[in-house]
Amino acid sequence: MWQWFHRLGSPRWFYQASGKWLPWLAGITFVLLLIGLMWGLGFAPRDAKQGNSFRIIYIHVPASFLALAGYYVMAIAGAVGLIWKMKLADMVMKSAAPLGAALTFVALITGAIWGKPTWGTYWVWDARITSMLVLLFLYMGVMALQHSYTSVDAANRASAVLSLVGMVNIPIIYKSVDWWYTLHQPATIKFTEAPTMHPDMFHPLLVMIAGFYCFYALVLILNTRSEILHRERRSSWVKDIVLQNQR
């Protein structure tokens, strides 16, 4: 067990092992997203109340899921790096920040586009939307901290602390729909619970969520690999890999 933990903590081992997983992961991701996209856009039935604008759900909801799940990944990696001084965990934390920020941005912008035909406005200062905006700023804060220190260790410590403190926001996002329900507009059909959806609409959503999870893992691995290569560029194993033109 501990041997496994140490091996996983080695950037070199991770780089070489993940190179073998990548083609499979990329293939699965592409197939899932392609099926989900076509299913959601063309084959799922239109919503009785919202019409075709409801099809935005197939990117809005998976992107929001991963924006939140990605925050756990970043905070847990930050904590592991802080406690056990694991280099790989710090690199994962750094790699998770721009990915989470981009997915939060997608969730916010698709929500805004969806809001126009559904609520009649692009933006409301509603609890859910505002707390998602705070999530975007937390991700951007971690990215900014990474660039504002000359010492890598100091940057990692500061980013890890910020991401752990920012965890407070996560339950607020989850619960915002219940706690501030009275502030919500009545037309928030998109927050209905999954099982109340018709299976014909729900199944493509499940495919898209699975596809987004794979996509998240894929990009996180790609980011981490480029970070490993950059940080270890002076080591002999990186030179060997480049010389032999290995993946």
Partner: protein
């Protein structure tokens, strides 16, 4: 079963086409950028390492030449 009777209908989505397609387009562009940017970074680092290696061999080579004289 495909829910639209024509491609035109599919694009228009009963008046919601602009919303649905712009949302999907933005998501696809962002996701494509997410995949491509680490790959570009990888190749930049690899190029830098290659240049460094070439410089090293050149230095060793010239040092060897100097040693012969």
């Amino acid at each position: 079963m495909f829910r639209f009777d024509s491609f035109q209908h599919f694009l228009q989505m009963d008046g919601h086409g602009a919303y649905v397609w712009s949302a999907y387009l933005i998501a696809i562009l962002v996701m494509a950028w997410l995949v491509v940017s680490p790959l570009f970074r990888q190749s930049r680092v690899r190029q830098a390492v290659t240049r460094e290696l070439r410089r090293e061999t050149a230095r060793q080579h010239s040092a060897g030449e100097a040693g012969k004289e």
